[in-house]
Amino acid sequence: MKLRYGIAIIALDLLMSLGAPWIAPRNPMAETLALRLRPPLFHAAGAWRMWLGTDDLGRDVLSRLIAGAHVSLLVALFGALLAISIGVPLGLAAGLAGGRIRSLVLRVTDIFLPIPFLLLAVAVVAALGPGLVNLFLALGLTRWPRFTRVAYASALELRGRPFVEASIAAGATPARLLWRHILPNIASAILVVGTLEFSNMILFESALSFLGLGVQPPAPSWGNMVAEGQDYIATAWWLITFPGLAILMTVTGVNLMGDWLRDYYDPRSRAL
């Protein structure tokens, strides 16, 4: 159930994200002022071929949703990958090397902990300026400590396991140890946290874009579509409803997928 729903949603998102130019029924940027603020098709006043209605500039909401999927997923994916590539090596270094490196890494991670994440991301975007690349930098640069902790805990545990000690005793080089023994064993944990973190990133991206700090209009993103629809909430409910639903469904799908992965790799967590 979790897996099916998760896969269905993710497949739909990928289709929208990768096939955006081909499957969008209209040009997401094309303004047709004659057709502005039309309600969705199933509504009595809906315009034909504007399935989910049009916005205040007469742009097709469905096409913008599809184009927005591309941006939102891309930013979240690269943000998560950046966080992993900063966080995991640090965590591994702390867990395997020990000594000064460990205390330095753990101290730095601890410093990031009490900072409410969204506030920090907002401040980073403020310093870098809004934009797509800066958005994913802001997400990656602020979310890595979580991966550091996971990688550190796993590496520390693995370090004491007999097969690792045996491998060290047999004279394995650090590179071989890392590649053959450590990485394969922490991959599942990183995958689970990475999946859940990916869905967090979608939420954060939408929040930052909603605040006007992420994807800049007129380019569509789910977050800035909600922000643009805000002025019309009394008259045009569809402008904020559909992008919000898109976020909700995507995040839920990815979360369920993450839950399923966690159950799969760690059956003990399923009990409660």
Partner: protein
């Protein structure tokens, strides 16, 4: 106890120092801090002049020293917009944010704990299904979107609650519900699993065997034992709430620190942004410390060494 407190205070100081350093580095992240600090629309010459006046042409380490010395005295510079110290601008807004966070915590936790308890006692009932749906949806819902939906329903359609404003308890309802909904989902799930675990222990059977009623057992014994993981979650949750406040305050025009942060960024009022990062993080670190101190009060077996 005194030793624990001093160790904890020391950690707090290190954390505040670290956060200040991050907030200092933020300004230098973009390469040219003078361009960030100069009022919008300044010419290149004005920006260079600004940089000289603020000492931004000095070596980075020297600037860092000055920044720390000033920050230690609570001086983050002057707000460009209001012309008063950035710290006092921030502190002025803190009560509104704490009020919102408190309201959200109250709403999310009362409902979340209630749902968790009911679910732990009547397992596999219809309520369990409802709770699990709520938990999944609650974790996937963008805060700002939920806030706008509430505005559509309660302010635009039903006209029973104000959509924005500050001051009366009625104004607090929608923002607090919006922000608290996110916590509720997690709390319901966590408290349920903790309670289910506790209900399986021998002391519950003993209490039942000596004739104690179901609810008396629950509230006198089980809830106390389940309190510590729940309070740990509450402390962590506060960070999420303080972050979420940035968005919620924008949606409801709530005059708190979050709204100030967004406005200051729009106005490129960077000293205020720096002060906000430090003040909010310090507040959060303090609240986490209080949560840890409460462990000993809840569970007499815990001694701080």
């Amino acid at each position: 106890m005194a030793r624990f407190l001093s160790a904890r205070l020391w950690q707090l100081i290190v954390a505040v120092w670290g956060v200040s350093t991050i907030s200092f580095l933020l300004l230098h992240l973009s390469g040219d801090p003078a361009a960030l600090l100069a009022p919008p629309g300044s010419s290149a010459a004005q920006i260079a002049e600004m940089g000289r006046r603020l000492g931004l042409d000095r070596p980075l380490l020297a600037q860092y020293g000055t920044f720390l010395a000033h920050a230690a005295r609570g001086d983050f510079g002057t707000s460009f917009v209001q012309g008063v110290p950035a710290l006092s601008v921030t502190l002025e807004r803190l009560p509104a944010t704490l009020q919102l966070t408190g309201g959200a915590l109250l709403f999310g936790w009362t409902l979340g704990l209630g749902l968790g308890i009911v679910n732990a006692v009547w397992r596999r009932g219809p309520l369990e299904f409802v709770t699990s749906i709520l938990a999944v949806v609650g974790q996937g819902m963008p805060v700002f979107w939920f806030g706008l939906l509430l505005i559509i329903v309660f302010a635009v359609q039903l006209r029973v609650l104000p959509s924005s404003g500050y001051g009366t308890p009625l104004n607090l309802v929608l923002p607090a519900v919006t922000l608290g909904a996110v916590s509720m989902a997690g709390v319901a799930r966590m408290s349920r699993s903790t309670l289910v675990e506790q209900l399986g222990y021998d002391y519950v059977r003993t209490a039942t065997a000596k004739g104690l009623g179901r609810w008396a057992t629950l509230f006198r014994h089980v809830v106390r034992n389940a309190a510590i993981p729940v309070i740990t979650l509450m402390a962590l949750d506060l960070g999420q709430l303080l972050g979420g406040a940035v968005v919620t305050e924008t949606v409801f025009a709530w005059p708190g620190v979050g709204q100030l942060a967004v406005n200051s960024i729009g106005a490129r009022d960077f000293p205020v942004v720096q002060a906000i990062v430090v003040v909010v993080s310090t507040t959060y670190a303090l609240l986490i410390m209080l949560a840890e101190l409460s462990y000993a009060w809840i569970d007499p077996r815990i001694r701080f060494e």
